[in-house]
């Protein structure tokens, strides 16, 4: 019980500290980082204190310290799973799917007719529960990473396609007239004007797709996989009620997801430095 009360006390103190900090120093960059960090730590302390203080069984919810210990002790296994699911399944599928989507968007670019048809259909498909095709693709491509990559390809394709098609249409009449006064060819207009102008839209799609890629790769493993991979490990560890291992995999997935997203956001910053949404931040 002491642990639980201690954690609650810490929570109250930390909240008061955050309220005070937010009031006094909200424009300090360090404080802007410190406040969410303290909030995160508070959640962990609360979690640890309540689980230990109330003797919650680790089968239901293991404390963070136990999860941390499990991560430390099974690094090689976590790396194997990461390699199988993220690098082989998600990343290769992501590259293929996004590449195909951009290629199709450019290919239909010359036909406004096809664009008018593709945009609503693509938007519609992007809202569908596409993960559902995972069992089919596992049947077609086998248990190994190829089927996971295939699921990822289908999942990322439509959001990226829709954004890219919208991006290629994003130039205004003035810019197109300009190109006309210079007698620019179609390809010159595409390369010099429309592709650069589409980049902010493209990266919107690419960022959404990072999360989808991880979801696709992990969920597809629930329908069959070799004896490694994050989805495989989660489903078997759940079966054995080895919850610390499940949480360890979740932590890795969360870190991988944030890192993947962060990487794409970083590239975006380099490519679309000129866009109003990027300019303010140095």
């Amino acid at each position: 019980m002491i642990g639980a009360w201690g954690a609650l006390g810490f929570w109250v103190l930390a909240t008061l500290a955050n309220v005070w900090l937010a009031k006094r120093f909200s424009h300090n960059r360090l404080v802007q980082l410190f406040i969410p960090a303290l909030f995160g730590v508070t959640l962990l302390v609360l979690w640890e204190g309540i689980v230990r203080g109330l003797n919650v069984s680790p089968v239901i919810l293991p404390p963070p310290s136990m999860i941390g210990a499990r991560i430390a002790s099974s690094l090689p296994m976590l790396w194997t799973d990461f390699n199988q699911t993220i690098l082989k399944g998600a990343l290769s599928g992501y590259l293929m799917g996004c590449g195909a989507a951009v290629a199709v968007a450019v290919a239909v670019d010359r036909s406004p007719f096809l664009q008018r048809g593709l945009l609503p259909v693509g938007n519609f498909v992007a809202a569908l529960p596409i993960v559902g095709i995972a069992p089919i693709l596992v049947m077609w491509f086998g248990f190994d990473w190829q089927s996971k990559a295939a699921v990822v390809v289908v999942m990322v394709f439509f959001p990226v396609l829709v954004n890219m098609v919208a991006g290629l249409k994003a130039t205004d009449a003035l810019q197109r007239d300009q190109m006309a006064t210079w007698s620019a060819s179609y390809w010159q207009g595409l390369v010099k004007l429309r592709l650069p102008a589409a980049m902010p839209f493209l990266f919107n799609g690419l960022k959404i797709a990072t999360t989808l890629a991880l979801i696709g790769a992990i969920v597809a493993e629930f329908f069959g996989s070799p004896t490694r991979g994050m989805g495989f490990r989660i489903s078997t560890a759940v079966g054995q009620l080895d919850l610390p291992l499940v949480w360890a995999e979740i932590a890795v997935a969360a870190l991988a997801g944030s890192a993947f997203y962060g990487l794409v956001a970083l590239i975006e910053k380099g490519v679309t430095f000129w866009h109003p949404s990027q300019r303010g931040r140095a």
Partner: protein, 298 residues
């Protein structure tokens, strides 16, 4: 409405590609069967066989359509276990499974949306809450939360919570974040001039919220509701995947994959797609009506 023809063209092209792929993917099996039987097969034989196999690699669209009809209308109206014969939905019909999925989705969606809006109100009015919580809310969208859905189901089952609730929890969780982030944006949509105007009227915080922030946030609300309801449905379906779930579209997917019933998988998939489309369309219609009444229709 001038995009109807292009859309139909694209859909027609998709169906054509589907048929082409079905012939291509299923032809191998036909040839293998023929070789085993020692007979020559002509192209027309392959054509007719590939489009009518019982367990094709890729069922043709009309096969899926027939399965959809049989497992909905036919099963309920003419079937021995259908609603006409027994008064309850047949557990072999997609209507029953769709209903199971839909009810969990709606329950979770309602909770997730409500919680998201409430928290957004708090965040807009408390700087400490904003600075503590928002970075995590945004970061959490980059995390493949959906992938842990089955674990939530199993763990909750181990402490005795089964059925609708665990799936609804996942659906709520998934619809919560888009709604939260969208509504924070929406409540902050009024610009400084509009806020300053209300300040000159000496409006209270509640007055400002009620008369300015809330109405301004409505377009954002509907945009995030559309994302949220689609996410809730995906969450429910993935929540139905772990072995043990016996009802719901996700369970149909899993059992289809377990028994190699490809036609059943595709039918369940299309039913899920139709459900998703229906939900998004309903939200869209409500959006048009509400925004139209408020004079905000674009």
């Amino acid at each position: 409405m001038k995009s109807v023809l292009p859309i139909l063209t694209v859909l027609f092209a998709l169906v054509l590609i589907w048929y082409g792929a079905a012939i291509g993917l299923n032809a191998q099996w036909t040839r293998d069967q023929a070789a085993r039987a020692g007979v020559e097969v002509s192209f027309s034989d392959i054509l007719s066989d590939t489009l009518s196999q019982a367990r094709p690699k890729l069922p043709a669209p009309h096969q899926v359509a027939v399965e959809l009809y049989q497992s909905t209308w036919d099963e309920e109206v003419n079937g021995r276990r259908g609603i006409v014969a027994t008064g309850t939905l047949s557990n072999r019909s997609l209507i029953y499974h769709g209903w199971v999925t839909l009810s969990a989705t709606m329950l979770g969606f309602a909770f997730g949306t409500g919680l998201g809006i409430l928290l957004a109100v708090g965040i807009v009015h408390s700087k400490a809450m904003d600075m503590s919580f928002m970075p995590w809310a945004i970061a959490s969208q980059t995390v493949p939360i959906l992938a842990i859905a089955p674990m939530v189901i199993v763990v909750l089952a181990s402490i005795g919570i089964k059925g609708l609730i665990p799936k609804a929890i996942i659906a709520a969780y998934l619809s919560f974040f888009p709604v939260l982030v969208g509504m924070v944006k929406g409540f902050r949509a009024p610009d400084t001039m509009q806020l300053d105007l209300l300040k000159t009227y000496n409006a209270s915080r509640f007055g400002t919220f009620w008369r300015l922030r809330l109405p301004s946030s409505v377009p954002y609300l509907f945009a995030s509701l559309k994302v949220g309801i689609a996410a809730a449905l995906v969450g429910t379906i993935v929540g139905e995947l772990p072995a043990g779930a016996s009802a719901g579209l996700g369970a149909r997917l899993l059992s289809g994959s377990y028994y190699g019933q490809t036609i059943q998988i595709w039918a369940a998939l299309l039913a899920a797609a139709a459900l998703a489309a229906g939900l998004v369309v309903i939200v869209g219609v409500i959006e048009r009506i509400v925004l139209g009444r408020m004079g905000m229709r674009s």
